[in-house]
C-alpha cells in the first residue's frame, strides 16, 4: 500500500485532531523513536497530482506547523511504509539536529524586483561616455570579437556589483530580525533578490513591520513577502549525497 507523506514532526504520539489530507484521506503518523512521519494513504493506481492536491497538502502543512516543529517534505512524495521508516532510521541524526535547530522558527520569502533592463541600459550609456576607447571600430574580426566580449564582461560586472549593493542594503535592514538567511541574487535581470529568512516565533511581528517600512522606502523597487512557511530552505544534511541517493525526494 502506498502512503503520501507530508513531513516529519518532533513527536511520536498519534495525531489527535481529525485531520484530512489528499482526497479526504485521514492523516496520521508513523512513529520512529521520538519523531514521526505524517502520512495519509493514497490509491497507488491514481497518483496523478492536481492543484487541489497541492492545496490539500498545504492545508495539512499549515496545521502541523502550528503545533509541531515540522520538517516538510516535497509535494508528491509517495512511498510505502517500509521506505518511510527506513528514511527516518537512516537519517535520524540529521533529522533530530534539524528539528532542534529549527524549533520555533518559520520561514519567510522576500523578493525584490527592480528594472534590470533599464539599469543595464544606463550602465551601457555610462560606459560609452566614460570609456569611449571600448567602442572604437577595429579592423580585424578577432579584435572586434575581443572588444565585444570585454565590453559585455565590464557591463555585466558592474550590473552584478550594483545588484550586490542593493541586495546588501535590503538584507542589512531585514537581517536584524532573523536567525538564518539564504540569498539568491539576480536569478533573472529583474529579480534583484530572492531571499529566504528564518525568523523566530514571537519575532515575526518585528520582521513583518520591518517589511512594511521597506515597502515605503523610496526607489524604483518592488517588494514581495510570503510566509510564514515551515523551513523548506533551511534543512541541512551532513551528507547531502547520501540523502540524495536514499532519501531522494523526501526533504
Amino acid at each position: 500500500m502506498k502512503i503520501y507523506t507530508y513531513g516529519i514532526i518532533d513527536s511520536n504520539i498519534s495525531l489527535e485532531e481529525s485531520l484530512t489530507g489528499l482526497n479526504g484521506a485521514p492523516v496520521n503518523n508513523i512513529p520512529y523513536r521520538d519523531i514521526s512521519m505524517v502520512i495519509s494513504t493514497i490509491d497507488e493506481n491514481n497518483v496523478e497530482m492536481t492543484n487541489t492536491h497541492a492545496i490539500e497538502h498545504r492545508k495539512v502543512i499549515e496545521i502541523l506547523m502550528k503545533r509541531f516543529t515540522l520538517l516538510p517534505v516535497k509535494f508528491r512524495s509517495i512511498y510505502n511504509r517500509d521506505q518511510a521508516i527506513s528514511i527516518m532510521e537512516n537519517f535520524y541524526s540529521d533529522i533530530r539536529d534539524n528539528i532542534d535547530r529549527l524549533r520555533n522558527k518559520e520561514e519567510f520569502g522576500i523578493k525584490v524586483i527592480w528594472s534590470g533592463d533599464k539599469i543595464k541600459e544606463q550602465i551601457i550609456k555610462d560606459q560609452c561616455r566614460n570609456n569611449p576607447v571600448l567602442l572604437e571600430e577595429s579592423e580585424s574580426q578577432g579584435r572586434r570579437f575581443i572588444e565585444e566580449v570585454f565590453k559585455d564582461y565590464v557591463i555585466d560586472k558592474e550590473f552584478r556589483e550594483k545588484a550586490d549593493i542593493c541586495a546588501a542594503i535590503v538584507d542589512n535592514f531585514l537581517g536584524k530580525h532573523v536567525t538564518e538567511k539564504r540569498l539568491e541574487k539576480l536569478k533573472n535581470n529583474d529579480l534583484l533578490l530572492n531571499a529566504f529568512y528564518l525568523v523566530e516565533r514571537g519575532k515575526e511581528k518585528g520582521f513583518k513591520e520591518a517589511f512594511e517600512v521597506l515597502k515605503l522606502a523610496p526607489g524604483n523597487f518592488r517588494y514581495i513577502c510570503s510566509g510564514p512557511y515551515p523551513p523548506y530552505n533551511f534543512i541541512k544534511w551532513s551528507d547531502p549525497e547520501a540523502c540524495k541517493q536514499s532519501g531522494e525526494k523526501v526533504l
Binding site: I119, V154, E161, K162, I165, N172, A217, P218, G219
Partner: protein, 93 residues
C-alpha cells in the same frame, strides 16, 4: 587563455580590472561602512552621493539606504537623528 590588449585594461592598485564610476565607488564604500556598523560614515557618503550625483542609480540606492537607516534610528529611539536624515533625503531632489 587569450590576454586582453593593453589599452583595454584599466587597473586599480590591486590589479583588478575596473571601469566603475565615482558615484559607484562611493556607494560601494558607503555600503561597506554600513555593513561594518560605522553608520555615521555611511550616512555621510550616502548623502554625498545625493548631493553630487543626484540623477544616478547610485542616488536611488543611497536614498533607499538612508531611509532604512533613519527607520532603524527611529526604532532605537534616536528620533532626532532619524528626522535629520529624512529631512536630508526630502530636500535633495
Amino acid at each position: 587563455m587569450f590576454s586582453m590588449p593593453e589599452e583595454f585594461s584599466i587597473t586599480n592598485g590591486m590589479g583588478e580590472m575596473t571601469n566603475f564610476s565615482a558615484p559607484f565607488k562611493l556607494l560601494s564604500m558607503a555600503n561597506e561602512f554600513e555593513r561594518a556598523g560605522v553608520i555615521l560614515y555611511a550616512v555621510e557618503l550616502y548623502t554625498k552621493i545625493l548631493d553630487n550625483y543626484p540623477d544616478t542609480f547610485e542616488a536611488v540606492a543611497s536614498r533607499l539606504a538612508l531611509f532604512l537607516i533613519a527607520s532603524r534610528y527611529e526604532n532605537d529611539g534616536k528620533k532626532e537623528s532619524a528626522i535629520a536624515i529624512i529631512r536630508r533625503i526630502s530636500t535633495i531632489k
